[in-house]
């Protein structure tokens, strides 16, 4: 048996939980391998030492602190009982919704502001485009007016009539 496999079996070996054949194989390996035998001896020493660890006494002050807890806990609960009144439920639901919105804002203030800036600049861009289109439209209207005026002037039936007579 290789050392890794034996070392993984040492704990059940110490607990006496191995099948007889497996136990015999571990015994044979430990007899031939000083390193694994040393580990087994130290594991046995660790188990024995832990079993002799004494209980430690807490301080008397801790007992006093613990005895004071139920009273404090009860007082804390009474203080919050009014929150359970049904009439407050709709207000608490609205408050929870608002808190969620605020928390979303504070969780990502950068992206929120960036999205506002983006929308603002997009709006400004749209207004500029409309303004430019309106400008070109007035130009076209102006051109159209000049053309119409020139055409009218060229045709000018009144002027021709005046010239004829």
């Amino acid at each position: 048996m290789i050392c890794d496999k034996v070392q993984n079996l040492l704990s059940p070996y110490l607990d006496g939980e191995l099948a007889p054949r497996e136990r015999a194989e571990v015994d044979a390996h430990l007899a031939a391998c000083p390193e694994c035998a040393g580990l087994a001896a130290r594991m046995r020493a660790a188990v024995a030492a832990f079993a002799a660890f004494p209980d430690v006494d807490p301080s008397p002050a801790l007992r006093r602190r613990l005895l004071a807890i139920p009273e404090r806990s009860r007082r804390f609960r009474l203080d919050l009982d009014f929150l359970r009144r049904p009439v407050l439920q709709p207000f608490l639901a609205v408050a929870a919704g608002l808190l969620m919105l605020v928390s979303v804002y504070f969780a990502s203030p950068g992206s929120f502001q960036r999205s506002i800036n983006r929308e603002f600049h997009r709006g400004i861009g749209s207004i500029e485009k409309i303004y430019v289109r309106a400008g070109s439209l007035t130009d076209r209207i102006g051109d159209l007016a000049v053309t119409a005026y020139d055409s009218a002037k060229a045709v000018n039936p009144i002027g021709r009539a005046e010239n004829r007579y």
Binding site: L39, R42, A46, D57, I69
Partner: protein, 168 residues
């Protein structure tokens, strides 16, 4: 009544887990606050001690993960432990004391779940079944954790022994 019956159990569990007397007292207080708030959830048909220790174990491991105690040093073993009965052989007594100190500090090197299993099974003397009930895992998982914990601690003792031989 709860305080008289269970303070020492919960405190020792917290002390062995954290290695700090002060920390263990604060955590014991937190665990009792949690206990009073959870009493109405206790199923009367179940074992109260196991339920309380499971509550304490969960709280300790949650706090351990939140605050990372393993980076802190443990109190010296002798700081709070009552004096143990010595052996007639002073050399053997010294070796036992060194083993105790190495194991006590070695607990900090074990992952939280393995450390808790070792504390319940080896120090508090619970059976595998009781340890599994408190830990909320199958008995096989507890055996595996104990095996890994024992092996790691045995290796710590071996390494210290080798270093001791080198120093001589």
């Amino acid at each position: 009544m709860l305080v008289d019956l269970y303070t020492k159990k919960v405190f020792n569990m917290a002390y062995q887990f954290t290695g700090s007397h002060q920390e263990a007292e604060d955590l014991t207080q937190d665990i009792f606050v949690k206990l009073y708030r959870s009493l109405d959830k206790f199923d009367l048909g179940k074992n109260f001690t196991a339920w309380l220790l499971a509550l304490a174990k969960n709280y300790l491991i949650d706090e351990y993960r939140r605050t990372k105690w393993e980076k802190r040093s443990r109190d010296d073993f002798e700081d709070h432990a009552p004096t143990l009965a010595g052996t007639d052989d002073p050399e053997r007594g010294l070796a036992e004391e060194e083993t105790r100190n190495l194991l006590w500090s070695g607990l900090n090197q074990l992952p939280a779940e393995i450390r808790m299993a070792v504390i319940l099974k080896e120090i508090q003397g619970k059976t595998y079944e009781e340890t599994a009930e408190i830990s909320g895992v199958p008995v096989g998982t507890v055996k595996s954790r104990i095996s890994r914990g024992r092996l790691q601690l045995a290796k710590i003792l071996s390494q210290s022994s080798r270093e001791g031989e080198h120093d001589m």
